[in-house]
């Protein structure tokens, strides 16, 4: 039998309006068990008041972003075994906590909407009535960035985001880059105007916390720097 492990979980009940506390649960881990499975185990068998967000259990939906042992990760794809016998689970940093591990993402979504996160086209759709085609090398350019699942792991790891309420943040800028780099998209100039401000790409201090924490290993800072380059050249040549 394997040793039991201690899960220390950040707890806060908004109805009681008391200070947050840490509660420790002891569980018997099973082989291959993930942090999310352990949370479900606690919810079903130990403490029915525990709140957390989760949905797909396969690192696709981006709901279960949490701060686990000092790192932002997806609970569903993080296994217990490599984390040791004592595991600390906290909500994503510097986002307002609604209850326990559930954070208020509304500011994140408000910023997300600002960059118009959808394909903007001016040309008529192809006469065939099918999809807009793209060459393989062109598609390769956005390979990394289409993987974003909007879990906010990068967003809540960003130092500049913590310091400045208005900063769009890495996830939002990565989404903007996903369309700026897409050859089918024609809203590039407009989008660069949106992100080419003090609260956009120019606020990035290249600390790379976002790139470190991204569960999908997207080179977020690379995308931000590419847009920074485009914005600066656009302003220098008077095109923006």
């Amino acid at each position: 039998m394997t040793d039991s492990i201690k899960l220390t979980i950040y707890r806060r009940d908004p109805d009681l309006d008391t200070a947050p506390k840490y509660q420790t649960y002891e569980i018997q881990p099973e082989p291959g068990q993930t942090v999310l499975m352990a949370l479900y185990h606690i919810l079903e068998n130990v403490d029915k008041s525990l709140a957390f967000r989760a949905s797909c259990r396969s690192a696709v939906c981006g709901s279960c972003g949490m701060h686990i042992n000092g790192k932002n990760r997806l609970a569903c794809e993080t296994q217990l075994a490599p984390l040791g016998n004592e595991i600390c689970i906290e909500p994503l940093p510097h986002l307002p906590v609604l209850k326990d591990l559930v954070v208020d993402m509304s500011s994140f979504w408000r910023k997300y909407e600002k960059v118009r996160p959808y394909l903007i086209t001016l040309k008529e759709p192809p006469a065939s009535g099918k999809e807009r085609l793209q060459s393989i090398p062109d598609r390769k350019k956005i390979d990394d960035f289409i993987d974003c699942i909007l879990c906010a792991c990068c967003h809540s790891a960003c130092t500049l985001d913590a310091w400045s309420d208005g900063y769009l943040g890495p996830a939002v800028l990565a989404k903007a880059y996903r369309f700026v780099a897409d050859t089918r998209d024609e809203g590039g100039a407009e989008r660069l105007k949106l992100v080419g401000s003090e609260e956009g790409v120019l606020r990035c201090h290249t600390i790379f916390n976002c790139t470190e924490e991204c569960p999908k290993r997207i080179p977020i800072t690379f995308g931000i720097q590419e847009m920074k380059k485009k914005v600066v050249w656009g302003k220098l040549t008077g095109k923006m």
Binding site: P20, G70, P91, H94, V97, T159, T206, T221, K228
Partner: protein
């Protein structure tokens, strides 16, 4: 309903270290410039006054502090070049390697400076 924001994220990546080193060395260099102005302005009180200030600054403690200054300038300057590279769009995906490289380059002049200063520190 009152919302509580949890404590800030504490970055442990190399980029975070580079960022804090850059900030702290920048502040140290700014502080040095202030002290430098104070020391140089002692010349207003005449040549003797200035000589006295210079003799005072030959104490081993100040030579050690000067080594710190050289280290701060090397770290700040070389990491500054690293940041400029990123802003020009180069090496963003190799940021860790570039930081380690910059710090290795910083060590060479620092060791030379120490070798020169050591007799003055020991006396």
């Amino acid at each position: 309903m009152r919302l509580i924001t949890r404590e800030r994220y504490i970055g442990r990546g190399l980029g975070m270290w580079a960022f804090w080193l850059h900030r702290l060395t920048g502040l140290a260099i700014a502080l040095y410039l202030l002290m430098h102005i104070v020391v140089i302005s002692s010349v207003v009180g005449g040549a003797k006054n200035f000589d006295a200030a210079m003799t005072f600054l030959k104490a081993p403690l100040f030579i050690l502090l000067e080594m710190g200054l050289i280290a701060a300038i090397l770290i700040h300057g070389l990491n500054g070049l690293r940041i400029v590279l990123f802003d020009l769009g180069y090496g963003v995906k190799k940021q860790k390697e570039i930081f380690i490289g910059a710090m290795i380059i910083a060590v060479v002049p620092l060791v030379i400076a120490f070798a020169i200063a050591l007799p003055h520190i020991i006396g």
